[in-house]
Symmetry: C2
Subunit: 347 residues, 2 copies
DNA sequence: CTGAAAGCGCTTACAG
DNA sequence: CTGAAAGCGCTTACAG
């Protein structure tokens, strides 16, 4: 491909210094005469000058690039987040490098390292549910990190964007109880993350508020996949305790659960009431359409990017190292509300 | 965040030159004594040295970063492509910057420019259907480009990965004809791209092969969205000519079409046979599950990244400018086959 | 086996 | 209003 000209060559042709060219091209040209300015701009235009941002970054120590580390863009949970991040980033003139970790800690660490080497200005990170310890790579990381969705106490993080999981789960479970369902199971994706714990608490609380005893056999723990919804329903139906309602840890589980219930000849929501969590794209398209707790994914990505970039720019301005991150995290924790979306079949 | 040490500081502490440190750290250290090597490695380890790839890129002229420019990651068509790209890229040690254009030519041009400035080694580009001319920005682009899915004749491109649209559409239409449907409409997303033209040709051909006259009123052109499927069915049902089958330009259209048909009390596939195109994630989850032409999206992304990176590395090795791109495009055109996926309702 | 030096393309005080 | 110079953190011939 054609090579781009440099400011050196422009300077030569314009018979000025490279400093002058640099100033004009960066619009720090208040002190430059109109004549030289126009001459330089004309030449740059003529040769289709493209600045080399690598050279610039080397000096300014900013790349205007951020990293987005997520488990899997194919999981319908993540595209909206990714879109939110990219929208906000491009609004601020930042680019985003995205990485799929498949929830593997090794890959997470690798990507954190690669992104650090590429000198990204910051990272937005939805980490694996398995990551309960071993944050060495994050501690070593020289780049500010915002955690999204999956929340842990962690020192090496400047902020978090999380969701009102407890409140959402409470809403979901209460919705089922209010509609007369009594024996409500909870099919969880995991039970270790703050996210999962919040959802479990909300479920427990909703039952407790109505003096319903929580049955351990009604709580099934697996993974956030459709297949697990299928298996969990299989288990629940094969046990002695009858159920008539299910709160599912996410929509994918709920879709699997519906599939299995229908196979067994049970109607949803006639025989068994179901509520999911997340409100992914396909929740409205499956049949019956899924009643679900809307998690504001787009907003989560958008807000995370905003938080990150604002902090990046602030750090640069203040020339502060922010060693004391405890305060920062408190200040930069965003809790997004959830919402119950009731959908009825068109049939 | 903590500042990383530089090779200069390592050199000082090890009492060697920076050249030696550089060689050791880059494993070009055949000629370096074991003692100095270990000393350097130890110090680098001790201070958690992170190379500054900006500085490196400035010299080597390679960033090991590629750009992925797509309309919208939220459109379920793209996550698999994006995943394929990222998988192959990371396999080769490349990162990927992704950009959403919303099919807007202005945004495409902006991103191409930004990526060029960031000195990406290459770009994978699924461009807007509206882009029928005005490739100036691409012509100006100093970076090799691989086109995916949407194909145009264009000089400034080193390769293409496209799909057997014609064959797929032929399969889809023939499938409906073989099952006894006679009056088959085609709800197209667009009609201008090579992709769309291929699908239309396949549809026409399947009808022609059975001596069925193509009716213009059976061909509806709109956009690749669910809403258009709904509207197009509305139109088709309000017209005089009865239909009993629909080939849809993509799955989203097909899902909208099914929705509308059901609203009107028509059974799918009992009353109206439907085939989609793309095989997106939710095709199996809607009810009735969608029979569709599988477009190998993951593979498309994967192959595109492979093609791109191989060409990048080859160009670097050969130190060739590849001005004559005509040949290159021929050589680097990958045509991926489609496949008919028949799905039956579980009810 | 190792070092001194040039240079990648830029920005940023500083001097005039 | 403009230029000379230093330097960002590296790599790469070249010399010894």
């Amino acid at each position: 491909m054609k090579k781009s000209i440099t400011i050196k060559e422009i300077a030569a042709e314009a018979k000025v210094s490279i400093a002058t060219v640099s100033m004009v091209l960066n619009k720090k040209d208040k002190k430059i005469s109109e004549a030289t300015r126009e001459k330089i701009l004309y030449i740059a235009q003529k040769y289709n000058y493209t600045p080399n941002t690598m050279a610039r970054s080397l000096i300014t120590k900013q790349t205007r690039t951020i990293g987005l580390v997520i488990p899997d863009i194919v999981n319908p949970f993540f595209p909206e987040i990714a879109r939110g991040v990219e929208d906000k980033a491009s609004e601020f003139g930042y680019s985003v490098i995205y990485c799929n970790t498949d929830d593997k800690i090794k890959r997470e660490d690798k990507y954190i390292k690669v992104l650090t080497e590429k000198m990204v200005d910051g990272i937005i990170f939805a980490h694996s549910s398995d990551r309960q310890m071993g944050f060495d790579s994050l501690d070593k990381c020289k780049v500010p990190i915002i955690l999204i969705d999956r929340d842990y106490d962690n020192r090496n993080v400047i902020g978090r964007v999380i969701v009102e999981n407890k409140e959402g789960a409470y809403m979901a479970t209460s919705y089922l109880l209010n509609r007369g369902y009594k024996n409500i199971a909870y099919i969880a994706g995991s039970i270790t993350t703050a996210t999962a714990i919040g959802r479990l608490e909300g479920y427990n609380r909703a039952l407790a508020d109505r003096n319903i005893t929580v049955k351990n056999s009604f709580i099934k723990v697996g993974e956030y996949k459709m297949q697990w919804g299928i298996e969990a329903v299989e288990q629940l139906l094969n046990e002695n305790e009858p159920i008539d309602g299910i709160f599912c840890g996410n929509d994918l589980i709920a879709i699997g659960a519906i599939k299995k219930l229908k196979e067994r000849g049970l109607n949803v929501p006639g025989d068994v009431g179901i509520v999911g969590f997340d409100d992914i794209y396909l929740a409205s398209l499956v049949e019956p359409p899924l009643t679900t707790i809307k998690q504001p994914n787009y907003e989560m990505g958008y807000k995370a990017a905003e938080l990150l970039i604002k902090n990046i720019e602030k750090m640069r301005l203040d020339r502060i190292k922010y060693e004391n991150k405890e305060d920062l995290v408190q200040e930069n924790t965003l809790l997004l509300p959830t919402e119950l979306i009731v959908r009825k079949s068109t049939k």
